[in-house]
């Protein structure tokens, strides 16, 4: 489009007019900014200069006391202890290396510590106190204090530091704290000023990490007037912080301690749940580690030792470890069959030792077969063929739905880190994750808790608690906060018929209490504490027919042995506690059931189980075992404290 020249002239004039107006507006704004600068830099300059001079150390944070953590009976699990340290302020020290050399003559200081201190000093402003050495003894602290005049810039400090009196027992549940790291800070959008304190401790793992915000508390403030050389003249005002909230967990520390001791030397996990309230009474993963080492800053050698241990002490197997549940999953398969109507409680199925499906043979663990069995008998003897048949009838979707109803394949809502979801596989899951069609063989494997099925010990305990009560029990870890009990939400009833649940309960009663039951050796004699349970073995290594025939599989290397599992609840008539144990590579001698029984008895009796509860045949073994357990001494006054 060709525009007549006049119009261009006119438009240019229009633009000039508006641009001029714009210039006027901008000039006004610039004038405003100049006025503001004049106000600040000339009129109020004195006031700001004063603020700037005072600014050097005028606000100090008072770190709050971190919230305490107790067990359900008020035993201290995580507390704060006084910690003496020597700190250095660069601008007061002058010649830092010389001062540090002098300090090294008074207290033990490694070259590593000196180097780190000098590094930290360079990174922070000259007035920020940097810790040279912490965890000094009272003697060392006094020496530093007495020699104060010879050590410019060095001052003794008393702070609080986290400690875990029960050492290894709660390493996984409570977790530990450690100094704030750069990556911690990077994750936070609105960082608490407390986190800027060098080496401030925050929860890194477990309950300490999940409830960090509540445990930390809020900082107090101290306004200090300082003179021109930075010496504190007086405290202007003081605002106390808010200490962190105190928590009481549902866990019974004595039971937890017993359970961990009982699992010792195995790579194993155990979970005990109160079946009525869902309270987690114990959640242990063996071997464990010493969280206090992490608080102090773990040495490379210690960390390497934990990391390279093939029993993986740093992993919380109780909630993080996912295992094929093996035959314990037959509870789920049975309930699924019953619910779908494809299995009647009285149905009988013949086990010839194997079944053929889709041209493949699926073997029962007993190659000669179990003969004709009903549901109770099939659970009692853990017949595989029976459940293969049930699974074929009701299909994988029904089984996995039942699994989720029982808590398997659902991530529990608990203040713990690393909670695994487990897996109750479906056709859609396989197609999405494995890009393959679901095969009937997958259904058969799932029926006995093999193949894709995965569950954590916590989920297995939950499944057992739900079977025992017929309620959708939800697990719980926090009993009270600051002395106020957290109310228990009454669970909904399971969408299962009472008759169906009863049929399975009768079966799992037989597993333990019938002479042919697979866990007969782990029964409880005491009639007031009759236990019902289910064994499980999950294969880690495919045993070849040749190995089975030669018996060589009994001598497999540790890593290739089967996992042993056991789930149970008691008392049978009025269930109180459910326990699940997993012994990694437990192999043939199957320690999972006796361990679960001992933990169960300790939970029910509230102390070391009486020998009278055991069958006569095992009492002497149990006695030796009980004697050799390395238990924590709870009578020591420093561990038992009243609720704050």
């Amino acid at each position: 489009m060709r525009r007549p020249p006049r119009e261009t002239e006119e438009s240019a004039r229009g633009i000039s007019r508006r641009a001029l107006l714009l210039g006027v507006g901008q000039t006004a704004l610039v004038a405003g900014l100049t006025l503001r600068m004049r106000q600040m830099q000339i009129v109020d300059a004195q006031q700001y200069r004063l603020l700037s001079d005072q600014n050097r150390i005028n606000i100090r944070l008072i770190p709050p006391a971190r919230g305490l953590i107790f067990d359900r009976n008020g035993i201290l699990l995580a507390g704060n202890e006084q910690n003496f340290s020597a700190v250095i302020v660069r601008e007061d020290a002058g010649d830092v290396p010389a001062v540090l050399q002098k300090l090294a003559q008074l207290i033990p200081l490694s070259q590593e510590e000196i180097d780190r201190t000098e590094r930290d000093l360079k990174r922070h402003s000259p007035f920020v106190p940097i810790t040279v050495s912490d965890r000094l003894s009272w003697d060392e602290l006094s020496r530093v204090a007495v020699n104060g005049p010879a050590l410019p810039g060095i001052s003794p400090e008393v702070g609080l530091s986290r400690y875990y009196p029960l050492v290894e027992d709660f390493a996984h549940v409570v977790g530990y704290v450690g100094p704030v790291s750069e990556s911690d800070l990077a994750h936070l959008t609105d960082p608490d000023p407390l986190l800027q304190i060098p080496k401030f401790q925050i929860g890194k793992v477990g309950f300490e990490a999940i409830e960090e915000d509540k445990l930390r508390g809020t900082a107090g403030l101290k306004r200090i007037e300082v003179n021109s050389v930075g010496r504190v003249m007086r405290e202007l005002d003081h605002k106390d912080g808010q200490p962190g909230e105190n928590f009481q967990l549902t866990i019974d520390a004595k039971l937890q301690d017993f359970a961990l001791a009982r699992l010792q030397n195995e790579s194993a996990a155990a979970v005990a749940i109160d079946v009525q309230s869902g309270d987690i009474l114990a959640s242990v993963s063996a071997p464990s580690f010493d969280p206090n080492k992490f608080v102090r800053g773990i040495s490379t050698a210690d960390y390497e030792a934990y990391n390279t241990n093939d029993h993986r002490p740093l992993v919380n197997k109780a909630v993080q470890g996912m295992y094929p549940p093996g035959s314990t999953y037959k509870i789920v398969t049975a309930l699924a069959g019953l619910k779908s109507g494809t299995l009647k409680p009285t149905d009988k199925i013949r086990c010839p030792g194997y079944i053929e499906v889709g041209g493949r043979k699926f073997h029962c663990w007993k190659s000669s077969g179990h003969g004709v069995l009903d549901l109770e008998g099939a659970l009692e003897q853990s017949c595989d063929v029976f459940f293969y048949t049930v699974a074929q009838r009701c299909g994988i979707e029904t089984i996995s739905e039942a699994a989720r109803t029982m808590g398997v394949g659902v991530r529990p809502d608990l203040p713990m880190t690393g909670l695994a979801e487990g897996l109750a596989p479906t056709k859609a899951w396989k197609l999405k994750n494995r890009k393959k069609e679901w095969l009937i063989g997958d259904t058969i494997n799932s029926a006995i808790g093999q193949g894709y099925v995965l569950a954590t010990p916590l989920q297995l305990a939950l499944m057992t608690a739900r079977l025992a009560t017929g309620q959708a029990v939800m697990p719980r870890l926090i009993k009270s906060v600051n002395g106020v009990d957290v109310p228990i939400v009454p669970p909904d009833p399971l969408p299962m018929q009472g008759a169906h649940l009863n049929a399975v309960r009768q079966g799992v009663w037989k597993v333990v209490n019938s002479i042919r039951g697979t866990a007969h050796g782990a029964r409880i004699e005491d009639p007031t504490m009759v236990m019902a349970g289910k064994t499980g073995t999950s294969q880690v290594h495919n045993i070849t027919a040749a190995e089975r025939a030669s018996g060589a599989y009994l001598n497999l290397p540790w890593k290739e042995r089967d996992h042993a599992l056991f789930v149970c609840y008691a008392p049978f008539d009025a269930p109180r506690v459910a326990v699940a144990t997993v012994v990694e590579h437990g192999g043939a001698d199957h320690q999972a059931a006796p361990m679960a029984r001992d933990i169960m008895l300790f939970a029910l009796t509230g102390g070391m189980p009486p020998l009278s509860a055991y069958p006569a045949g095992v009492r002497s073994t149990v006695e030796t075992l009980q004697k050799n357990l390395q238990l924590h001494d709870f009578s020591a006054e420093n561990t038992v404290k009243t609720r704050a």
Partner: protein, 382 residues
């Protein structure tokens, strides 16, 4: 086409263009950037690293970009303005899906050799497109509702994308930069008055809704407004930065504490001391004299741009020049207001002074466009 109307022979060609560059502008830009080098040297504790040295290289690169852009005929820039706008929109969408998160907002695309901030680019391409839009549009139609709606949409699209990142500061600059081009192009006063009234009414409504059942903002948002109005309320939290910035500026006094003598920045009281808050260091070390000198330098840059625009009869060229100048103006005005506690902290750097590569290059590129407009302005017919 208007550029055919003037005698091409009077427009300088080849290397002769260098003689017709707006050299005053080049000197002013270099002066401002040098102030930046000094400040970056100072906040690093008297060291060229880590900020001053890379910043010098960037400015050198920026000068080259400016000359290169300046030598390209202005009509070329007009012809690609639509494409440039679309590309920057695409980059804004891309940064949303593939960008890196920095300071809690998605802003960058990593190109390997530099991190591109598409929102910076968008400020300039928006101005380019609006200028060419008003160059194309019949002057009589400028204030008709339909023809006003189109540029409003052109402004709002990138603004919304930037706001989503979220980058309130840049979104504001886009809005204001776009509005200025519309204003200078001659859109009726009534539209601006209406939008202004609406804005004031909205703010009034929001503030009045506090504590009532129809509260328009969340409680914490009101709290932020309170803290902005009185930073002393929260000296360790959100108000901390602004209190410290004001202390630094104010303590400078008449002539400042002297180069490398600022305690506020040296002691790490100041946040973002090498980027958004660098002005406070200038204020602390060089005082009122230093800050006003920088302000005058900035004002002169704007003045030279406006002067160049008013003497340019090519509608696109003059609108573009005004638009770039206005964007530049809002940059430093918002930044200074922010550190002086006159505006909320929205994250706008001080142009050419704050440490940062993509902002520097984009700004120098934009001044390249201004140079191109200046060199290729219609001559001859008086």
């Amino acid at each position: 086409m208007s550029y055919l109307e003037y005698n091409l022979k009077t427009v300088p060609t080849g290397l002769a263009k260098a003689l017709y560059l707006n050299w005053a502008l080049v000197v002013l830009l270099t002066a401002v950037a040098s102030a930046g080098f000094l400040m970056l040297y100072s906040v690093a504790g008297g060291s060229l690293r880590p900020w001053a040295e890379p910043q010098m290289f960037r400015f050198a690169a920026g000068l080259l970009v400016m000359f290169a852009f300046g030598f390209v005929p202005i009509w070329y820039w007009r012809n690609i303005s639509g494409v440039a706008y679309l590309i920057s929109l695409m980059l804004l969408v891309l940064v949303d899906v593939a960008g890196s998160v920095g300071m809690g907002a998605q802003r960058w695309i990593n190109l390997g050799f530099m991190r591109l901030q598409p929102s910076e680019l968008a400020k300039i391409t928006l101005v380019m497109l609006l200028a060419s839009y008003y160059d194309w549009l019949d002057v009589k139609r400028v204030s008709r509702p339909f023809w006003v709606l189109i540029p409003v949409l052109l402004i709002l699209i990138p603004t919304a994308l930037v706001l989503k990142q979220p980058d309130l500061g840049t979104a504001l600059l886009l809005l204001m930069g776009g509005a200025v081009v519309m204003f200078v192009a001659g859109v009726s006063w009534w539209y601006f008055a209406a939008v202004g009234t609406l804005g004031v009414g909205l703010v009034a409504a929001v503030m009045m809704s506090r504590g009532t059942s129809w509260q328009l903002l969340k409680d914490y948002q009101f709290k932020r407004i309170d803290i902005f109005l009185d930073p002393g309320m929260d000296p360790l939290g959100a108000g901390y930065h602004i209190s410290q910035a004001k202390i630094a500026l104010g303590s400078g006094g008449w002539a400042g504490r002297g180069f490398l003598q600022g305690t506020q920045s040296r002691l790490n009281f100041l946040p973002e001391k090498h980027t958004d808050f660098i002005f406070t260091t200038l204020g602390e070390e060089f005082g009122f004299l230093g800050t006003t000198t920088l302000l005058v330098l900035y004002a002169l840059i704007i003045l030279f741009c406006l002067h160049s625009a008013m003497n340019n009869k090519d509608r696109f060229a003059s609108l573009l020049t005004v638009g770039v100048a206005a964007t530049f103006f809002f940059y430093f005005a918002v930044n200074m207001s922010m550190v002086m506690g006159l505006a909320p902290v929205v994250g706008v750097p001080l142009p050419l002074v704050s440490y940062g590569g993509s902002a520097m290059l984009v700004l120098m590129g934009a001044f390249g466009l201004v140079q191109s407009a200046h060199i290729h302005r219609p001559r001859g017919r008086r």
